[in-house]
Symmetry: C2
Subunit: 415 residues, 2 copies
């Protein structure tokens, strides 16, 4: 059998490998495929994230006002955000659900402390790496990778307190959850389901990370979950070192070889002994240099069609954070924006045809010259109305949901 057919989406059911994707066939390298100059990196202050800047008014009064209803303006993303907020309180020992809970719901659990005694057999890094990956897949993660926690990936300050962040854990476990191909094939990249796709993956990966961290603490090792409502780490460098993707033209977005950019990630940091993964090279630097479809399609013009730059010690394609954030926060014709995810040629289902194309793009550099042409020709990147399943609903002023004035338009850029 050809290498591209040596594995299958069903590997986890039928094969010897626990991973749902054939990650064992990927080319491993010693360092990420984009330069990282550790000595030049300033740790990131979470308060300077685009969403936090928009909330304090750096992108103007209109964007600041829209930030308040950004996720809650659709009922499904609102529910997901609330759950995500709950999970933000369940990341470490001592976290708990409510003291004022209804007694009818029974006793109130508390996340237990790190066990005094280390469980026997947990000292072997190879054994524990396998156990942690299998456990994460058992908990329904789509992809998992492990690296040493780069000290420069730890935020300098947290957004809620403004206090300096102290996090000394040795390892980071990254957990990816797919944003759902069926929905991705139906949406136009920036209509009323876009935020729900993000938050479904955020809350589901966060749910898995909270469970995994509790499990590790019960084994006798410190562990903390990090997810979209409670990160102490910047995720992209962790994904690179854990072999879960390469930096892409989209900017600070890591693309996974089988999910493309169609995922969100949560992380568990811990001192559990763990064998680490190596970074991967599936040709994305060459691919993104040639393709440029995300830059062509970005409704806010935030994505560059030019060359990579060095920024804070990282080699990356530059993006205009203000334009990207403002589009996502203040989109008047949808909830959020994931147009780059939508149009990226790596955003495909894992079917036999796409497995074959995927193998070709990873292994035959010449084929990448025709990638965007073929992708356009096949009609990818366009919404499929037959699969649209969500309700177009908008809460404008907190008074209840109504049918939005603007639905499924291609002209959504906020100027």
């Amino acid at each position: 059998m050809a290498p591209m057919l040596s594995s299958d989406w069903r590997d986890r059911c039928t094969g010897e490998h626990p991973d749902p994707f054939p990650v064992h066939t990927l080319r491993r390298v010693d360092r990420p495929t984009t330069a990282i100059h550790e000595d030049r990196i300033q740790r990131f202050d979470e308060r300077e994230h685009g969403f936090n800047r928009s909330a304090r008014g750096d992108y103007g009064a209109f964007v600041k006002a829209e930030r308040l209803r950004m996720v809650n303006k659709h009922p499904l993303s609102g529910a997901l955000l609330t759950m995500q907020g709950m999970l933000g309180h369940l990341v470490d020992s001592g976290d708990r659900v409510p003291v004022d809970a209804k007694a009818a719901n029974g006793p109130v659990p508390v996340l237990p402390p790190v066990a005094d005694r280390r469980a026997p057999g947990t000292e072997d890094p190879d054994r524990m790496a396998r156990n942690i990956k299998e456990t994460a897949y058992f908990l329904r993660a789509d992809a998992v990778g492990i690296c040493e926690l780069p000290p420069y990936a730890v935020y300098s300050h947290g957004v809620f307190t403004g206090e300096p962040v102290e996090l000394q854990h040795k390892h980071a476990i990254a957990i990816l959850v797919d944003q759902d191909w069926r929905t991705a094939s139906a949406f136009n990249g920036r209509d009323w389901i876009s935020n729900s796709m993000s938050f479904m993956s955020y809350s589901t990966s966060g749910f898995i990370a909270c469970l995994l961290a509790d499990y590790i603490r019960r084994l006798g090792y410190p562990a903390r979950a990090h997810h979209a409502r409670n990160y102490q780490v910047a995720v992209p460098p962790i994904l690179l070192w854990a072999g879960l993707g390469e930096m892409s033209r989209i900017g600070d977005i890591v693309v996974h070889p089988f999910l493309g950019p169609r995922f969100k990630a949560a992380v568990v940091t811990t001192d559990l002994p763990l064998a680490i993964d190596k970074p991967i090279d599936f040709g994305l630097q060459d691919f993104c240099a040639k393709c440029k479809k995300c830059a062509r399609e970005c409704p806010s013009g935030a994505i560059s069609d030019g060359a990579k730059v060095m920024h804070n010690g990282y080699e990356k394609w530059p993006t205009d954070v203000k334009r990207c954030t403002s589009m996502r926060v203040a989109n008047q014709k949808g909830s959020g924006c994931g147009t780059c995810l939508k149009v990226c040629p790596w955003n495909k289902p894992y079917t036999p045809l796409h497995r074959a194309v995927n193998w070709t793009m990873r292994n035959i550099p010449l084929a990448r010259n025709f990638a965007i042409w073929g992708d356009d020709l096949m009609g990818y990147g366009k919404p499929d109305p037959a699969r649209k399943w969500w309700l177009d609903l908008e809460d404008v002023d907190g008074g209840g949901f109504q049918v939005p004035k603007n639905v499924l338009s291609d002209d959504t850029f906020l100027d």
Copy 2:
């Protein structure tokens, strides 16, 4: 193409149907395939469940003592139980995470009340049934069905308060989550991962149910999530009416045509207008009459190899609840017991071979005479040690985890 190949596990990715399984090919019937005499049913008092009876000592002092550590004696099922307990506090409006939460984790979310205004377009039962199913699948449910809420499925009293249960919702939405084929193929039915399989599916289906109920309340309709740490309903009759399976020889266990008994379920009850599903008939009554493998293999001897009986208005195969519960609670060589799940011939992965066998068993009654013979011949029901991934660990006295004295034995019945 033959009917058995007309659909695929990948339907959700590639086909016109949102369901991961080809449920549209199943034979629908007007009533469940086992008799239900609504007028004779006494609503069930949750306090009389086997697990609750074991906790108050009805099955002896040893079982009562073991009940306290039953799930927490393994680190993974312990973490899942704690999360499940958290979700038990997030089932309805006003539920919230902690007032005493660390400020560092940001604002404390509260589940919002039912929206004052009903969202436009939510009055159409067909449209909303499709939307709810797609939403549940988007949230990563494996199977979803909808029925009218049978009043007799509502518990008479809750276990935590002893108060009468009042629940008047019109509809029930049932959400199934797979217990993971890979793990099911590896375990022996009653070793140290068994409880984790149950609780992974309980907590994951509960997570989805809590999200779905919040979403429905935002649309302007009452809705309540029901899951293993906070049920107000008995699940089996809901699964029957929602077309998610038939009563099986295992006893109170509903078997799904494509998952077998390898799932746990959560429910959302609501007044949202919803088109209902019809019960299914895939030949299970004839199959279970002939097969009897679960009765042969049950380590506690709780499963009958005899005929069905009428019990409290339900036609069902009888089980010995005391023997079943005592085995699961006080298993000294593992955590819990799912031997019936393990050995049931319907517990298979959804691969081409098994799709073909599945079609045959659903459609060719004569083939069922050879089912248990063929299943035994192929070696199904035995553990596959090459796939074992979990840690055998046991907390005996609350003092920390140790390697259990008893591992992977076939001789685990507690006498």
